[in-house]
């Protein structure tokens, strides 16, 4: 039977872990709130941009902009967005799994990666894929500038014909307890989606420049916005996942403490009973004389 002191020590350590997981849960909850606010705050820009692109696309005759051109899928790059830290349930491993499946599907092509977040980088640096770029520790304070830097790199590689297609895999924020792993194509830009029905009243703008010029300047920015959005979604998902995982860990710790306490009391009682028996039988032995 386990020693009383060992059980006590065990309870104390579980209680300490519980304190940590509970604190992490609260930290994630407040970070999640901020991340969600950012997702919402980023929407107006993205929506207006899409609306303008949509209204331009119908007006531009020459649509063979490099970022729209399809030229096969010989060289593919996958952008993998994970977190920098663990302790968030299956958040990172789901992404890595989806990325692996994707890479296996496209095995015929020349594959390379860009890792956003340490977890994805750590996993794939030991795998036989070329990692063309890594962005570590930027998920914490997520500025648009960072997204732009990533998008600029992708566009530059794409324009230099070093890439034919660029995909991105990230966790889309569904709700606090639910994330959806999403794979999207960034380049070449496919259908410019969304808001199509809202643009219904077509306006005859006065154009300060050629629609063509504005259009070709807007396309790269569209990629920036896509990358930024994916990063925001992923950040919100990560905090949500961590919050859920830490909540579960706190509950588990509570159960464990209860079980251990029960166990401890049994041991304590058993030892008391044993002592009483010893005393009583000792007294009996003396009385018998």
């Amino acid at each position: 039977m386990a020693n009383l002191r060992d059980v006590r020590r065990r309870i104390r350590s579980v209680r300490n872990i519980q304190k940590t997981t509970r604190a992490m849960k609260f930290v994630s909850a407040s970070k999640l709130k901020r991340a969600q606010d950012r997702v919402v705050a980023a929407r107006p820009y993205a929506n207006r941009m899409l609306a303008v692109l949509n209204s331009l696309i119908s007006r531009v005759e020459n649509r063979d902009h490099a970022l729209l051109q399809r030229r096969g899928s010989g060289q593919i790059l996958l952008v993998i967005i994970t977190g920098d830290k663990g302790l968030c349930g299956a958040f990172n491993s789901n992404i890595i799994k989806a990325a692996t499946v994707f890479l296996n599907q496209k095995a015929g092509a020349e594959l390379s990666l860009a890792a956003v977040g340490r977890k994805g980088y750590d996993f794939f640096k030991r795998r036989p894929y070329e990692i063309r770029a890594q962005y570590i520790n930027i998920m914490g304070k997520l500025a648009y500038e960072e997204a732009k830097r990533i998008a600029d790199f992708l566009i530059q590689q794409y324009s230099a014909l070093a890439l034919d297609e660029v995909y991105i895999v990230y966790n889309e924020f569904k709700s606090v307890i639910q994330q959806r792993v999403t794979v999207e194509r960034l380049l070449p830009i496919g259908e410019i989606e969304g808001l199509r029905e809202q643009v219904a009243p077509r306006l005859d703008y006065i154009y300060e420049q050629e629609p063509q010029t504005i259009f070709s300047h807007l396309l790269p920015r569209h990629v920036d916005v896509q990358v930024y959005r994916a990063m925001l979604e992923s950040a919100a998902s990560e905090h949500g996942a961590r919050m859920t995982a830490m909540d579960a860990a706190t509950t588990n710790a509570k159960d464990m403490i209860e079980r251990l306490t029960l166990n401890m009391n049994r041991i304590r009682q058993a030892s008391i009973t044993k002592e009483i028996i010893e005393i009583v039988s000792g007294a009996n032995a003396l009385a018998g004389k």
Binding site: A42, P44, R48, V52, Y144, E208, Q209, I214
Partner: protein, 147 residues
């Protein structure tokens, strides 16, 4: 003939947030072909913006903002300024802008063939525009500090 509205709804949006939304009497923005002034009742217009100063007027108060690349969309009922970077005059970090200006000037003067002049020039332009806008910051911030 329709009556022209008195005011226009202006939205200033950056990728990170909505910076301003409200009714204004006049807007001026740095279009690529030169500054554009928009008054209520303007025809629909689309233009790219370059580095410069965005101003909007509500009655007699003018508010200035710094803006880097972006675009302007004028619709019958509203004006949207979508700026990649936009900062209110009060929020501009003057010391940082000054440092950026000195750095860019030094780089432009250097004889090093490796220097990316295009980039240095853009940086300089940006720093100068920031400083110019910052100098027009409304004294509101100061007044609040004194009160």
């Amino acid at each position: 003939m329709p009556v022209l509205p008195d005011q226009i709804t202006l939205e200033i949006v950056t990728p990170e947030r909505l910076l301003f939304s409200g009714a204004v009497d006049e807007v001026s923005v740095p279009g690529v072909e030169g500054y554009l002034g928009i008054l209520p009742g303007h025809a629909p217009l689309l233009s790219e913006l370059k580095i410069g100063e965005v101003m909007y007027r509500q009655e007699d108060t003018r508010t200035y903002l710094f803006c880097s690349w972006g675009f302007l969309e004028v619709l019958p009922d509203r004006v949207s300024v979508l700026a990649e970077i936009a900062e209110r005059a009060e929020d501009i970090d003057v010391t940082r802008a000054q440092a950026a200006r000195e750095r860019a000037e030094k780089r432009l003067k250097s004889k090093d063939p490796e220097t990316d002049f295009q980039r240095a020039r853009t940086a300089l332009e940006r720093a100068l525009a920031r400083l110019q806008v910052a100098s027009k910051a409304s004294p509101r911030g100061l007044a609040a500090g004194e009160g």
